[in-house]
C-alpha cells in the first residue's frame, strides 16, 4: 500500500519544484510591478508633505483628501520653493531631498558616530507665508510611525501629517485621523527660547484643543503607547532642526 506521494524522494522533489515555482512567480510579480509601486510611493510622499503644509483637497470636516496623484508633481513644484539638505553645518539645495530615506540616515548615524546624517528640510510658501516642513520618524506600539510637521516663522505649527505601519485600527491608528492631526494646528513648539515640543497628553482637560500655548494636545483613548510615540517623535526629530531653522529664518 505504498503510494508514490509517500516516498521521501518524491517529497524532496515536490518541495524543490514548489519553492522554485512559487519563488519565481513572486519574483516575477514583484519585478513587474516594481516601477509602478515606486512611482506610487513617490507621489505619496509628495502628497504627505503638501498635506502637512495645508495643501489638500479636503471638503468635509473629517476628510483627509490629498492632492490627486496625477496632479501632485505639479502642485509640489508650485508650493515647495526649496528643498534643502542639512549635513553638519552645510546647507545645500537638492531637488530630490524628499526622496532621502530618513530611517536609513538615522540608522547610519546610530551605527557610525562620525557620520553626519543628511537632514531633508522643505521650504514651502502658502498664502505669501513661509513654512518649513520637517520629516519625523519614531515608534508606535507595534511598528514604525512617521509624519511631517509644517512650522511657520514663529515656530508655531502650521499643520501635521502622521502615518503608521501597523497601529491598531480604531485605536492607535487614529493618529492618522483628521481631528487628531488638526489638534496640532497653531500649537507653539517653543517655551520662550527653549524648545518644548508638543505632548500628547491624557487628561489635559482640553478636548476641543482651544489652549494653544500649553504644548499639549488631547490624547486618544486606548492609544497611550502610540500617543507617547508621537510625543517622543516630535521631541526627538523636530529638535534637531531647531538650531538650523533659527539660522534660516534670521537670514531671510
Amino acid at each position: 500500500m505504498s503510494r508514490l506521494t509517500d516516498k521521501n524522494s518524491y517529497t524532496v522533489i515536490f518541495s524543490v519544484i514548489m519553492v522554485l515555482v512559487v519563488g519565481s512567480l513572486l519574483a516575477g510579480v514583484a519585478q513587474g510591478l516594481r516601477s509602478r509601486i515606486t512611482e506610487n510611493k513617490r507621489f505619496e510622499k509628495q502628497q504627505n508633505i503638501l498635506y502637512a503644509m495645508g495643501v489638500d483637497n479636503n471638503k468635509d470636516k473629517s476628510d483627509i483628501v490629498f492632492v490627486p496623484a496625477n496632479e501632485v508633481e505639479e502642485a509640489f513644484k508650485t508650493y515647495i520653493k526649496k528643498q534643502l539638505v542639512i549635513q553638519g553645518d552645510n546647507i545645500t539645495e537638492d531637488p530630490e531631498a524628499y526622496l532621502i530615506d530618513v530611517k536609513l540616515e538615522a540608522n547610519h548615524a546610530k551605527e557610525d558616530p562620525n557620520y553626519q546624517r543628511r537632514l531633508p528640510l522643505f521650504v514651502g510658501e502658502k498664502d505669501g507665508k513661509n513654512v518649513y516642513i520637517i520629516p519625523m520618524r519614531g515608534n508606535g506600539l507595534w511598528d514604525a510611525i512617521w509624519g511631517f510637521m509644517a512650522i511657520d516663522d514663529n515656530f508655531k505649527v502650521e499643520g501635521v501629517f502622521f502615518d503608521h505601519a501597523g497601529e491598531t485600527p480604531g485605536l492607535g491608528a487614529n493618529i492618522k485621523t483628521r481631528f487628531f492631526m488638526d489638534s496640532f494646528k497653531g500649537e507653539d513648539l517653543m517655551d520662550g527660547e527653549a524648545f518644548k515640543g508638543i505632548t500628547v497628553k491624557k487628561g489635559n482637560n482640553d478636548p476641543t484643543n482651544s489652549r494653544k500655548e500649553d504644548h499639549a494636545v488631547d490624547a486618544l483613548a486606548g492609544s497611550t503607547i502610540t500617543g507617547d510615540g508621537v510625543t517622543a517623535m516630535i521631541k526627538k526629530d523636530v529638535a534637531i532642526y531647531i538650531p538650523h531653522l533659527r539660522k534660516l529664518i534670521k537670514e531671510q
Binding site: 509517500d6 517529497t11 515536490f14 512567480l25 473629517s62 496623484a69 507595534w142 505601519a165 485600527p169 480604531g170
Partner: protein, 215 residues
C-alpha cells in the same frame, strides 16, 4: 440558488449560521477581536479573506493529489503566503489608496486559522468547484460575524458607522449627545469584542439547541 445543486448550495449557506467558522467552529477568533473596532475595517477584512480563501481552496484542491502528506501543512502555508503577497503587490501597484487603508490586514490574512482550517478539512478532499464554494461560504460566514461585531463596536464605542456620525457630534453635543448620552470607550477595546461574540454565540445556541455541546 438555482445555479447550484442542493448539495453545493449547502456548502455556501451552512457556514453562514449552523456551521459558522467563528461561532461554531471557533476559528479566526483572533482577527475577529483585533480588527472589528470599525465597521469599514471589518468589511474590508471579510472581502480580503474571501478572495484569498476562495483562490487558495481552488489551488489546494487542484494540487490535492500531488501534495505529499508529510509536508502538506508547509505546502498549504506556501500557497496562502504566496497568494497574500501577490494580492498585496497588485493592490500597491493598482490601488495604492486602498492598500494604504488595508495596511496590516493583508498580512494578517496569512495567520487566519480559517484559511488553513478549510484547506486541511475541505480542499484536500474535494474537487476545485466545491472547494471554491466552500471558500466563499466560510469567508461569508466569517464576514457576517465580523460585520455584526464591527457594527455594535463602532456604534456604541465611537457613535459612528462607516465613519459617519450617526448619533450626533460628541464634542459639539448634538443628536443623542445633547441629552447626555456618552460613547462607551470600552467597546473599542478587544475584550468587548470577545463579549459581543459571546453574546452572538449565546443567541445562536438559544435559537438552535442542537449546537450546544455536551459538557
Amino acid at each position: 440558488m438555482a445555479l447550484l445543486s442542493r448539495k453545493d448550495s449547502k456548502l455556501v449557506t451552512d457556514p453562514l449560521l449552523d456551521n459558522n467558522p467563528i461561532t461554531v467552529q471557533v476559528l479566526g477568533i483572533c482577527s475577529a477581536l483585533a480588527i472589528t473596532a470599525q465597521l469599514q475595517a471589518s468589511v474590508v477584512m471579510a472581502v480580503s479573506v474571501m478572495a484569498v480563501l476562495a483562490m487558495g481552496n481552488v489551488v489546494i484542491s487542484l494540487l490535492r493529489n500531488v501534495i505529499p502528506g508529510k509536508i502538506r501543512i508547509i505546502a498549504q502555508l506556501i500557497v496562502v503566503a504566496a497568494l497574500v503577497i501577490v494580492v498585496d503587490l497588485v493592490l500597491q501597484a493598482f490601488a495604492f489608496e486602498l492598500s494604504k487603508q488595508l495596511s496590516v490586514f493583508i498580512g494578517l490574512i496569512i495567520t487566519n486559522c480559517i484559511i488553513m482550517g478549510r484547506f486541511e478539512a475541505f480542499a484536500l478532499a474535494n474537487n476545485p468547484w466545491r472547494s471554491f464554494l466552500d471558500g466563499i461560504g466560510n469567508a461569508a460566514g466569517y464576514g457576517l460575524i465580523l460585520v455584526i461585531v464591527g457594527f455594535f463596536r463602532e456604534l456604541l464605542g465611537s457613535g459612528t458607522l462607516f465613519g459617519y456620525k450617526v448619533l450626533g457630534d460628541p464634542i459639539e453635543k448634538t443628536g443623542l449627545y445633547a441629552i447626555g448620552y456618552e460613547n462607551n470607550g470600552f467597546m473599542l477595546l478587544s475584550p468587548m469584542a470577545l463579549i459581543v461574540i459571546g453574546v452572538i454565540i449565546w443567541v445562536q445556541r438559544t435559537r438552535n439547541k442542537e449546537l450546544i455541546e455536551e459538557a
